[in-house]
């Protein structure tokens, strides 16, 4: 008895002693975080995370080879604690969920049939699988078998459907899928993902500068799930009310239905659900990731600034917007007139964005009311520039500074700010873009007798949105094409009395493919006008530079825009980013929104101390060649829904909104016209 007690005791002590000495002698420096993380893991050595045991998993987490929520067993609090140990980072403390990217399923065409092979990975190992589509679902359910939580089943259309309630985000399905159809991601990762060449994307979604998942939201509308449609849009575009009204919808030019029929009226559907949310009176709650405490200064509260701030906030950072004008919105407020985008609607939309917890400081202009140094001193970790393009180009002709001469942005901003402007009776607006048209239509509503639009090329070359040109034609605006202003004629009181122009004719095409206008000698003609507005383009106003701080080191292009890496939005000063008109030159609202999100992704990387590199294989609004068709079969011609609008006689006297929203029945009909495209397959219409 005694011996055995003595023996066991002795053996224990000897082993213990040896081990404790060994741990001193053979001590290897190990990241102390590994031990901390390991303590927070389940300790079950189950291997569910894909690593051999918990200590291996802890090491992988600390070496950033595994996400902090790699362990499938621990509680959310532990994950948040691990996230704290690892330093705050977008998405870390958020739950992972599986998403299915392919809804083609059985409709995708088969290339080969392999009898007997009944798993996706088996089939995939032969020539990439039996389906024509290079990325699409093979439909044999490896993911269903891989899921240990019964969260995936194959839906009636032959592709996996994830039950988000049951999904624990373990990643087993993603690992099992040979095609990366199932992706296990956090909300933040999804918000910041840029369209990539391996994604399952319809041609319209590839074209959209904001990268909205268009077929998905249209499908939601078709099923009457309007809230889901709004959420789908808001994953990529926080300004859906504004875009639904003013976007020239480049997506529609690539709509597959448009090859055989008229394109789906994508933008009106967006406006329909956006208005639905606003008119319902209650805002759909928007989720934000846990706070990271990192602060970002956003200079300029236009679409680019609002979009960047929105995405930064949703992934957990703390953006603050600094805006020079009395209210936020940029050109949406001070450029685009009331009859196209009512201020009431814009206010509602912007308030929704600010409600997420974004500070908006208005009436503060960088370079006048505060300087760059004070921003940095205030502890902002990064700065985003979205100052737009507010400097009108001058014509460079004599007499341009007479009374009665205005520039486009200046004029519209005054109107937008409800300032009094002295308006003439007969007005010439010079230019062919949106600004020129908006000036014309605004003037008309202000009650002038005659508006002439003077453009040096022809209607075909006008850069303004087609719908805008049509609307202004209807409203009775007179176009003077192929006319190059030569000089402004005035009286003794320095007041404009006329505009002399030279007639032009179209010559050889220039670099942009448009035929270059050349003046016809001796063709001087005088227009009898008493007010002239020049709207021939804008460039950014960079007056805040040249004050001897870091901003002077910024590279500026010869168009006076910020020189950025187009894939990241980063400037040559690592903590300064830019997007929108300030980086691209005058462009579109959606482009500014897409740029803002792209920059938000880079700023997030930067705030986490990671290298700011372009996302691998990002499409950046190029197209996937195989998805662009010449012809499409299985399409029955069906009339595109007409946009309801105020009758011309009514609308030219008021600033009431001109374009109206389509009815629910029309929205349902229009959404049924969508072919629900992906890369290759789409829903054929049977006759």
């Amino acid at each position: 008895m005694i011996e055995s007690i003595l023996f066991t005791f002795g053996l224990g002590s000897v082993c213990g002693l040896i081990l404790s000495f060994a741990s001193k002698i053979f001590y290897v420096y190990e990241d102390p975080r590994i031990a901390k993380v390991e303590n927070l893991l389940a300790g079950a050595n189950c291997g569910g995370c894909g690593f051999a045991g918990c200590s291996a998993a802890a090491e992988a987490i600390v070496n950033e080879e595994a996400p902090v929520n790699a362990c499938i067993l621990v509680a959310t609090e532990n994950i948040s604690e691990i996230a704290v140990i690892m330093g705050a980072e977008a998405g870390t403390a958020e739950p992972l969920k599986s998403y299915n990217n392919c809804d083609g399923g059985n409709r995708a065409t088969d290339r080969f049939i392999y009898n007997g092979l009944n798993t996706c990975s088996g089939v995939a190992s032969f020539y990439g699988g039996k389906r024509d589509c290079t990325v699409g679902c093979l439909g044999l359910g490896d993911c269903v078998r891989a899921c240990g939580f019964d969260a995936i089943h194959l839906g009636p259309n032959g592709y996996p459907v994830v039950d988000r309630e049951k999904c624990v985000g373990c990643g087993a399905c993603e690992a099992a899928c040979p095609k990366s159809i199932l992706e296990v991601r956090t909300m933040s990762q999804r918000l910041l993902h840029l369209n990539a060449s391996y994604d399952a994307l319809a041609p319209c979604a590839q074209t959209c500068p904001a990268e909205i998942d268009i077929p998905r939201y249209i499908a939601h509308i078709k099923n009457g799930e309007y809230e889901e449609a709004v959420y789908t849009i808001k994953e990529r575009n926080p300004l859906l009310l504004a875009c639904g009204r003013v976007c020239p919808h480049p997506c529609e030019s690539y709509c597959r239905r448009g090859i055989e029929d008229e394109p789906v009226s994508i933008n009106q559907l967006k406006r329909f659900v956006a208005d639905m949310e606003m008119n319902s009176g209650k805002r759909l709650p928007i989720e934000c990731a846990p706070d990271t405490g990192k602060r970002v200064a956003v200079i300029g509260g236009g679409p680019a600034g609002l979009s960047c701030a929105y995405f930064l906030r949703r992934v957990g950072h703390r953006p603050a917007i600094f805006e020079a004008m009395p209210k936020l919105g940029g050109m949406l407020r001070y450029g685009i007139p009331e009859y196209r985008l009512p201020k009431k609607v814009l206010d509602w939309e912007i308030q929704g964005i600010l409600n997420l917890g974004i500070e908006g400081h208005t009436n503060v202009r960088l370079g006048v009311d505060f300087d760059f140094g004070s921003l940095i001193a205030a502890g902002f970790d990064a700065v985003f520039f979205s100052v737009g393009a507010w400097n009108d180009y001058n014509l460079g002709i004599p007499g341009e500074d007479m009374d009665g001469c205005f520039t486009g942005i200046d004029f519209l901003a005054k109107i937008g700010n409800q300032e009094e402007v002295e308006i003439g009776r007969r007005v010439a607006v010079i230019g062919g873009g949106n600004t020129a048209i908006d000036c014309c239509r605004t003037l008309l509503r202000k009650g002038v007798d005659k508006v002439l639009l003077v453009y040096r090329r022809t209607r075909k070359e006008m850069p303004a949105n087609e719908v805008e040109i049509v609307a202004s034609e209807e409203e009775g605006i007179e176009f003077v094409f192929l006319a190059a202003p030569n000089k402004v004629i005035g009286n003794e009181e320095n007041q404009v009395t006329g505009l002399e122009y030279l007639k032009m004719e179209l010559g050889e095409p220039d670099a942009s493919g448009r035929r270059r206008p050349v003046p016809v000698a001796g063709s001087e003609t005088v227009l009898d006008v008493d007010m002239i507005i020049t709207a021939i383009g804008q460039s950014p106003e960079l007056g805040f530079r040249g004050k001897g701080d870091r901003l002077d080191d910024l590279d500026i292009t010869r168009w006076n825009t910020f020189e950025i890496d187009p894939a990241t939005g980063q400037t040559n000063v690592p903590y300064i980013f830019a997007a929108g008109d300030a980086a691209t030159g005058a462009s579109l609202v959606v482009t500014a929104i897409g740029g803002g999100r792209r920059a938000a992704r880079s700023i997030d990387l930067f705030l986490n101390g990671k290298p700011v590199v372009p996302q691998p294989k990002a499409l950046l609004n190029t197209h996937i060649p195989e998805s662009i068709f010449e012809s499409v079969d299985g399409v029955k011609k069906r009339q595109r829904t007409k946009m309801p609008e105020l009758p011309v006689s009514e609308r030219i006297h008021t600033f009431e909104e001109t374009d109206l929203v389509i009815s629910e029945a029309d929205a349902l009909y229009e959404s049924s016209r969508c072919l629900g495209c992906c890369r290759l397959c789409y829903n054929k219409e049977l006759t």
Binding site: I18, I25, V28, A52, S55, N118
Partner: protein, 190 residues
């Protein structure tokens, strides 16, 4: 018994996995992928050679000497566990390359039943030290052989059509049973 027969007996006839059914958990757990299976096999060889010889020494020179043979099991467990821990620390510091290859498997087989079983068998069969060393080495080789064979099969089974109730572990157990039957053919050779 000559050493040749001993080797054949350990690897094939009395294969620790397929004839004695010891060490089934790592056998099922790490046989899904060939890469992991190879790593595991190496780790088992390494640990078994050490454990088999050390426990033989402990048994012969301590337990027998002091008449404490009845404490064999408990003593073996403590010795093997500490040994593996010690080796892990040693490798991490001195031979990091080897640690990177085997390290992650070591804690998983600390007191694996195959390890324990071989140590006990060495004693029961009254092996000499050299015989114990050879037996431990080749039992482990037999373990590795079975594991790697099995991983190869399972990689293929993954691509095949398996009825739902039989998927994953169940089909693995059935397959294991059949390989085990095949190994019965070696019975009676030595």
């Amino acid at each position: 018994m000559g050493y040749f027969e001993l080797i054949i007996a350990c690897v094939f006839v009395n294969n620790i996995l397929l004839a004695q059914f010891l060490g089934n958990c790592p056998f099922l757990g790490t046989s899904k992928k060939m890469e992991t299976a190879v790593g595991m096999a190496m780790a088992v060889i390494f640990v078994l050679v050490l454990a088999g010889t050390i426990t033989w020494l402990v048994y012969t020179y301590i337990l027998v000497k002091f008449g404490l043979v009845y404490l064999r099991t408990i003593a073996f467990i403590v010795v093997i566990a500490s040994l593996v821990q010690f080796v892990e620390m040693f490798l991490k510091k001195s031979i990091p390359a080897l640690y990177a290859g085997l390290g992650i498997f070591l804690p998983l087989i600390t007191t694996n039943c195959a390890v324990m079983g071989v140590c006990v068998l060495n004693i029961d069969k009254e092996f000499t030290f050299l015989q114990a060393l050879v037996a431990s080495l080749f039992y482990a080789v037999g373990f590795g052989l079975a594991l790697i064979l099995f991983a190869g099969l399972r990689e293929r089974i993954f691509l095949a059509r398996v009825p739902k109730p039989l998927q994953d572990t169940s089909i693995a157990l059935i397959t294991a049973g059949m390989i085990s039957l095949a190994f019965f053919a070696f019975q009676g050779m030595v």
